[in-house]
């Protein structure tokens, strides 16, 4: 299978601190790949490094055959790769209507026929046209995250970088957003790289996952291995135990 995205020996350094320490991952086309770990493990940094938002000092990133260097990214990269952030309250411009928010990426990439594109994008994420001229503060958290997904999808990317897309949402709303993400992935044959601290979510959404700790990949396993407990790292076991809830000893 073709590789959609890969990172080799990737290092991100802030002052003297190695946020990423020789990290390597490889994601095939159409695959959904998860990154799990505790806060500070570097999972979000890896995503940001791929998007050109973190200072990469060493290593290579390859996306769709194109090797990226430095923080600069070509316009075609941004068309190919889009990101959805964790906090839907912070990632939408508060003074812009949903229509304006969705128009922006189309204008940047010079995509014509914005009218139908915006209508279709809103339809696809399950928000009717009635939401088009509202402001973000008039929407709930789940609806905002749908807008953020619509904004990412409107330029028809191949790869979606998802940084904890549901951790700011209630459990029932999380289920709706996860279903939506699965639906669009199936429809558009997208590649997902998804960060989450919730093993349950990653197991549900991803075929393979990398467990990270302290800027390093501890191990890369198939999601099924979590069920069968076929993993070697002790840290993975700790995470799995923790996800099962509290036990009185």
């Amino acid at each position: 299978m073709k590789t959609a995205l890969s990172a080799k020996d990737l290092c991100v350094v802030y002052d003297d601190f190695y946020a990423l320490d020789h990290v390597a991952i490889e994601v095939s086309e159409g695959e959904s790949f998860g990154l799990v770990g505790e806060s500070g493990s570097g999972k979000s940094t890896l995503l940001r490094a791929i998007a050109g938002l973190a200072p990469v000092v060493d290593g290579t990133i390859t996306v769709a055959g194109e090797t990226l260097s430095g923080a600069g990214r070509s316009k075609s990269f941004y068309r190919n790769v889009q990101m959805v952030f964790q906090d839907p309250y912070g990632s939408l411009h508060p003074r812009q209507t949903i229509d304006r928010l969705l128009l922006e990426p189309l204008a940047i990439h010079g995509i014509a026929d914005s009218e139908t594109k915006i209508t279709r994008a809103l339809d696809e994420v399950g928000l009717g046209n009635g939401f088009r001229f509202r402001y973000p503060h008039q929407l709930s958290g789940g609806q905002r995250q749908r807008v953020a997904i619509a904004r990412a999808l409107i330029v028809e990317p191949q790869v979606l970088l998802l940084d904890e897309p549901t951790s700011a949402l209630d459990a029932s709303v999380q289920a709706e957003v996860l279903n939506l993400l699965e639906q669009v992935r199936r429809d558009r044959k997208l590649t997902f790289l998804m960060v989450s601290h919730d093993l349950g979510v990653v197991h549900h959404m991803c075929e393979r996952l990398a467990v990270m700790r302290g800027g390093k990949v501890v191990e890369t396993i198939a999601a099924e291995a979590l069920v069968k407990r076929e993993f070697s790292a002790d840290y993975t076991r700790q995470l799995l135990v923790a996800s099962e809830g509290f036990r009185r000893s």
């Binding site: 029932s172 999380q174 919730d198 197991h203 923790a242 509290f246």
Partner: protein, 278 residues
């Protein structure tokens, strides 16, 4: 059980706004003894408002009414501000969600805990300091002397939350209200903090109200669970009976969580019925 520690009968919290009255809590009733009670619900269900009303922390714009709100013989509704203030911290304590925001950023940790203690007990500094160090050790902070000197930004989230618990328990309260005490923490740290809280609560024989959005976590931690929806309790059940939950909202909440070892695509979503909110 002779007399319940806390009796809440038909508690209502409402906020008048320009566009009408927002009813955050609409008639919640329960009694609490020396047990662990969980209050679960989604954002906006009124679970935190319930906790805050008991604590007496509803902002001045809010209106709290109840047929009865009684804490070990004291009528909280008719108690003066001064009386309530002497209860807060001493007999009823509250652990908040995020230690980053709930600890004073410009005061060393030890000094903050000492302040709590000396607000309620007349003891000298030396004795207070010793009690604080002992308390820090009780929440399993190994190097208590060092942590005593640190400012909140110098400790991790899990450590901060332990400091918060230490601060809340130092005056020996009878009732602890924990409002999402572990939601801001990593899963692995979460269990440690819960373990510490669990141990201290059972050792000291306190009543605990555990407010959380995480139904599974609450049911694994508490004896009894109240499920809230739109300001009302829709179901009350023993934590062990969670699987036999009858209300469709509770069942929906349980079902919509992705679980390791299950393969359900798409996930069942909650179909909110308008009659639940009646």
């Amino acid at each position: 059980m002779s007399q319940p520690l806390l009796t809440v009968d038909n508690l209502k919290v409402s906020y008048p706004t320009r566009t009408g009255v927002v009813e955050a809590v609409r008639g919640v009733s329960f009694t609490l003894g020396k047990e662990r009670l969980g209050i679960v619900g989604e954002s906006g269900s009124g679970k935190s408002q319930t906790g805050r009303a008991i604590m007496g922390l509803t902002p001045p714009s809010g209106i709290v009414t109840a047929d009865r709100l009684n804490f070990s013989g004291i009528d909280l509704l008719s108690a003066s501000h001064k009386e309530r203030r002497s209860l807060r911290g001493k007999r009823i304590a509250m652990v908040l969600q995020d230690p980053k925001y709930s600890l004073d950023p410009v005061m060393p940790i030890g000094k903050q805990i000492m302040e709590t203690l000396r607000a309620h007990e007349k003891i000298d500094k030396k004795e207070a300091r010793e009690r604080v160090l002992k308390m820090l050790e009780a929440v399993q902070i190994r190097d208590a002397e060092r942590v005593f000197q640190l400012h909140p930004h110098e400790v991790s989230g899990g450590m901060g939350q332990r400091v918060m618990i230490a601060m809340m328990l130092i005056a020996g309260p009878e009732l602890l209200i924990a409002d999402e005490p572990t939601s801001a923490l990593d899963v692995t740290v979460q269990l440690e903090v819960l373990g510490i809280m669990d141990k201290l609560v059972s050792e000291r024989g306190m009543g605990l109200i555990f407010v959380s959005h995480d139904l599974r976590l609450v049911s694994s931690f508490c004896d009894r669970v109240l499920v809230m929806y739109a300001g009302r309790v829709v179901e009350e059940l023993a934590a062990a009976d969670l699987k036999n939950a009858k209300h469709p909202y509770t069942q929906g909440l349980l079902n919509c969580m992705p679980d390791i070892g299950e393969d359900r695509h798409p996930l069942p979503v909650l179909d909110r019925k308008p009659e639940w909110a009646l």
